[in-house]
């Protein structure tokens, strides 16, 4: 099976974020990492390849710094990578990102495309499903298990409140992968070395531009969310904080 894994670079989970001067986006001078659900998507693609053979290709869209997620994917075992390299990809809405990805792979023939179920930065949870529609492929979201059947696949979807569902579907297909579907591997030293010689195809904005349209939604501004509760910060040495907490547990929460 030939599998494409869509990956995104996002700010590190506990990186302190600041707004840019216009208040329309974050300042980009932060540490980045692979979007966590995308790491599970990559792992699942590698496992499918180990079972059934084939090829795993990682793709991302973003500025030069985002090449790091592809390097990591190659080091973990992806066969090659595609980098849509331009800072302008950061400002695209989900529809345009999916259009750019579709344009970049128009000469390829994948059996499966994986994405993480959503990104830790924008959290639109759209790109995979939009991509499926643009390609005319079936899709399934929030996937916890993938098995090959005769001519298609059988996937386990996570539903809400502890429910699951099996779905049979034909190939090619797009799947959005849930975190926790598998256990992530680490890159080995030899993997990191080999990654340097693996092919990385660069795609410019100009190449995919004809496939794009105007953004249909626009982030006007970002702001610190309004608090719904009055939060009281307890300060002091640990022993003092412990005393204050017990006071709150007794007199406010009334659980002691």
């Amino acid at each position: 099976m030939k599998i494409l894994v869509c990956m995104k670079q996002v700010p590190q989970k506990d990186a302190p974020l600041k707004l840019n001067e216009a208040g329309t986006w974050i300042r980009e001078d932060v540490s980045y990492e692979v979007n966590e659900p995308d790491a599970f998507a990559l792992e699942e693609a590698l496992r499918q390849k180990e079972k059934h053979g084939g090829e795993v290709v990682a793709i991302t869209a973003g500025p030069a710094r985002s090449q790091q997620v592809l390097r990591e994917a190659l080091a973990k075992g992806a066969d090659r990578a595609i980098h849509l390299e331009d800072a302008g990809f950061v400002g695209l809405d989900a529809l345009n990102v999916a259009r750019a990805l579709a344009a970049a792979i128009k000469d390829e023939q994948f059996d499966l495309i994986f994405t993480g179920l959503q990104s830790d930065d924008q959290g639109y949870a759209q790109t995979g499903v939009v991509l499926a529609e643009l390609l005319g492929w079936p899709h399934a979201t929030i996937i916890m298990q993938i098995e090959r059947t005769g001519d298609g696949i059988r996937v386990k979807r996570e539903l809400e409140a502890g429910f699951f569902q099996f779905v049979d579907m034909p190939l090619p297909a797009v799947l959005t992968i849930q975190s926790g579907i598998n256990k992530l591997r680490y890159a080995t030293l030899i993997g990191i070395k080999q990654a340097k010689n693996k092919p990385m195809r660069k795609v410019t904005m100009a190449e995919v531009q004809p496939a794009l349209g105007p953004n249909l939604q626009k982030v006007e501004r970002l702001h610190v969310p309004q608090k719904t509760r009055n939060t009281e910060f307890l300060e002091g040495a640990p022993a003092e904080i412990a005393k204050k907490l017990v006071d709150k547990l007794r007199n406010e929460a009334r659980v002691l």
């Binding site: 539903l159 926790g180 509760r229 929460a253």
Partner: protein, 331 residues
């Protein structure tokens, strides 16, 4: 003709998903703000009963969109049916709850119509005749005001809990119901879903617990779970966790709180090393008192905490257990 807001309610197995009422409340608020008509639709097979439930609310009309192909949910059938209906009825704004089912098909539906959807919104505002929809970004660290830059219909989904279902307005009289039969060709539906099931009987019912001590990534290692268990024990409460902890197998899945786990509302929710991703918050924000300990002062969990401790949980928890034992002897 006046512009229209269409709320598509969610039904599963012939029952309305309760979050649908919240979306109708959102629609009623938007209708007041804009002066637009509010209509509702329910899609499925034999859904006229559900349509009349919705028609009791303050909406001007309810559509029962029906096809045997809608009896079981598939993204192909639901997107095809709603595309046909929306293309002919031409609402300006289409609202749905941000459920796992809706997020499975609404990006497809919007794309098929050459439109976009602003997902997982927590509110809206109107400034100079322009509607802005507020949604969380960066795991809740920021909220973004987002506008539509293209033509209607504009698609919006609202997060579970964004509006209060008990604020719903009933209508003076039942709204008229129109049945809309949709033809969906056999080849359209490609996925073949089986029935939904639960993995195992939930051994622990966290919804009944009055005190919950929950751990997140900040617990660092599996062996440290013991410390949180000791705190839970001292408080006479249950231990719970955010998703990554259960994914790692450090606690069983039935201890998970959040959108994919249990939704709880205890007297006390004590969150240790939980950053507060949206998926976790929706499962516990109904707790009466929330105490959060986290080393990151910007962690979104602090937005909803009553008492916040910025610090290392490994420094705070041991003396806290000692203090609790002083006032509450082990039972």
């Amino acid at each position: 003709m006046a512009d229209t807001i269409l709320v598509v309610v969610e039904q599963r197995e012939g029952k309305l998903n309760r979050v649908s009422w919240e979306t109708i409340v959102a629609g009623q608020a938007l209708a007041r703000e804009t002066g637009w008509n509010l209509e509702a639709a329910v899609a499925g097979n034999n859904v006229s009963g559900l349509a009349s439930e919705v028609a009791a609310k303050a909406v001007t009309k309810v559509y029962a969109i029906e096809s045997p192909k809608l009896a079981t949910y598939t993204p192909d059938a639901f997107a095809a049916a709603l595309k046909q209906f929306i293309a002919s009825s031409q609402p300006k704004l289409v609202l749905m709850p941000h459920t796992y089912q809706v997020r499975d098909f609404i990006p497809k539906l919007a794309t098929a119509m050459g439109r976009t959807v602003i997902t997982d919104c927590i509110g809206f505002k109107k400034e100079k005749e322009i509607l802005l929809f507020t949604r969380q970004m960066f795991q809740g660290k920021f909220a973004a005001d987002v506008t539509f830059a293209g033509d209607p219909p504009w698609f919006v989904t609202f997060q579970n809990g964004a509006f209060r279902a008990d604020k719903i307005e009933s209508g003076a009289a039942a709204a008229p119901i129109e049945n809309v039969n949709i033809e969906i060709a056999d080849a359209v539906v490609r996925n073949r879903p089986e029935e939904a099931f639960k993995e195992a009987k939930q051994a622990v019912d966290l919804t009944q617990a009055s005190v919950i001590v929950a751990v997140g990534r900040g617990i660092k290692e599996q062996k440290n779970i013991e410390l949180a268990k000791q705190l839970a024990e001292a408080l006479g409460g249950e231990i719970a966790a955010s998703r990554p902890i259960c994914d790692s197998g450090w606690l069983p899945m039935d201890r998970q709180v959040g959108s994919s786990g249990q939704t709880v509302a205890p007297q006390l929710y004590l969150a240790l090393g939980i950053s507060g991703a949206i998926q976790h918050l929706v499962g516990m924000k109904g707790a009466r008192t929330i105490i959060a300990v986290n080393k990151d002062s910007e962690a979104p969990i602090f937005e909803i905490a009553d008492y916040a401790v910025v610090g290392n949980l490994f420094d705070i928890v041991p003396p806290l257990i000692e203090e609790i034992k002083k006032v509450k002897p082990a039972s």
